[in-house]
């Protein structure tokens, strides 16, 4: 299992991921699962600019990620799988590839319709429902922005989302 981190984070490849988690876990590849980004070369280039030297990234649709998951897991190195949305991670789990895995929620910022759960997690009712469903499909589901921060359990996340 070379994928060490499964993270829902709407900022995708940003500092907390490639520095905070990447340095701590020794990550050298990132699987970014987002249908829109997989179709946008210029945005992929933008995100690639944030990778540390020697690291690589795959930009995949949800369908590609589910289909290629085993192959990605078998490659050398240490990887992270990122989705921009709770719904995308939920669909990956429903495809049967995340069984027993530890998934966490990183940055989901303030936006219309969302309620504050933590400083770095805001959820709307649909996202809270996604997380409840996701929790039953994976090993653990917690919120955690950085490795040094305490993990926050699902009950607190969805219990305080107003959903």
């Amino acid at each position: 299992m070379s994928i060490r981190l499964f993270r829902i984070d709407e900022r995708l490849l940003h500092g907390q991921v490639v520095v905070g988690w990447g340095e701590r876990l020794g990550l050298d590849y990132y699987v970014v699962v987002d249908d829109d980004l997989a179709a946008s070369d210029w945005e992929q280039e933008l995100y690639m600019g944030g990778l540390p030297d020697g690291a690589s990234a795959y930009f995949l649709t949800e369908e590609e990620a589910a289909r290629r998951f085993r192959t990605l897991e078998e490659r050398a190195g240490r990887g992270a799988l990122l989705t921009r949305t709770t719904a995308a991670m939920r669909r990956l789990a429903e495809a049967g590839v995340l069984e027993g895995r530890a998934v966490h929620v990183g940055c989901l910022g303030a936006a219309p319709g969302r309620h504050r759960v933590l400083d770095y997690v805001y959820l709307n009712p649909e996202e809270a429902a996604d997380l409840r469903a996701l929790a039953s499909l994976v090993g653990t589901l917690e919120a955690r922005d950085l490795p040094s921060a305490p993990a926050v359990g699902l009950d607190r996340m969805v219990g305080e989302s107003g959903a």
Binding site: G15, E43, Y122
Partner: protein
């Protein structure tokens, strides 16, 4: 490109506010720079804050890091706009120069302030302790 260029500093946490405040305190020029923080907001929200701060006229977006959420938002906002430019590595030297040259043409101004930031980075290596100095070698 005509008219004063608006400067927008977009950065993590409270960095933008601190930079803008410091520029105003040092230069005495107020209102030339606007601040945007990525704190607690979604990428969509951040783009909205940036668009509002930049306005419709020519603007230069100063970003703290060359990559990450602030840089992505700035590049995405600027991409369809011919009167927006992005400079990364925002620093006091480039911002201090910017506030006195806002009448310049946007592209030339962007190159100018980026150069100010580059040349402001210098290395001063530690000097040898006095005991290590060879007394037989005369000072020049």
């Amino acid at each position: 490109m005509t008219g004063s260029v608006v400067g927008v500093v977009v950065a993590h946490d409270g960095v933008a506010a601190a930079l803008v405040r410091a520029v105003e305190r040092i230069s005495g020029v107020e209102g030339a720079l606007r601040e945007v923080s990525n704190e607690g907001c979604s990428p969509e929200e951040l783009r909205g804050r940036l668009e509002e701060a930049a306005g419709d006229g020519p603007a230069l977006l100063f970003v703290d890091l060359a990559s990450g959420s602030c840089a992505f938002a700035a590049r995405q906002v600027a991409r369809p706009r011919p009167n927006l430019a992005v400079v990364t590595g925002a620093s006091l030297p480039m911002l201090l120069d910017f506030v006195f040259h806002r009448e310049m043409e946007l592209e030339a101004l962007a190159e100018r302030v980026a150069d100010k930031g580059r040349v402001a980075t210098r290395v001063h290596l530690p000097t040898a302790p006095e005991s290590d100095v060879d007394p037989t070698v005369p000072h020049r």
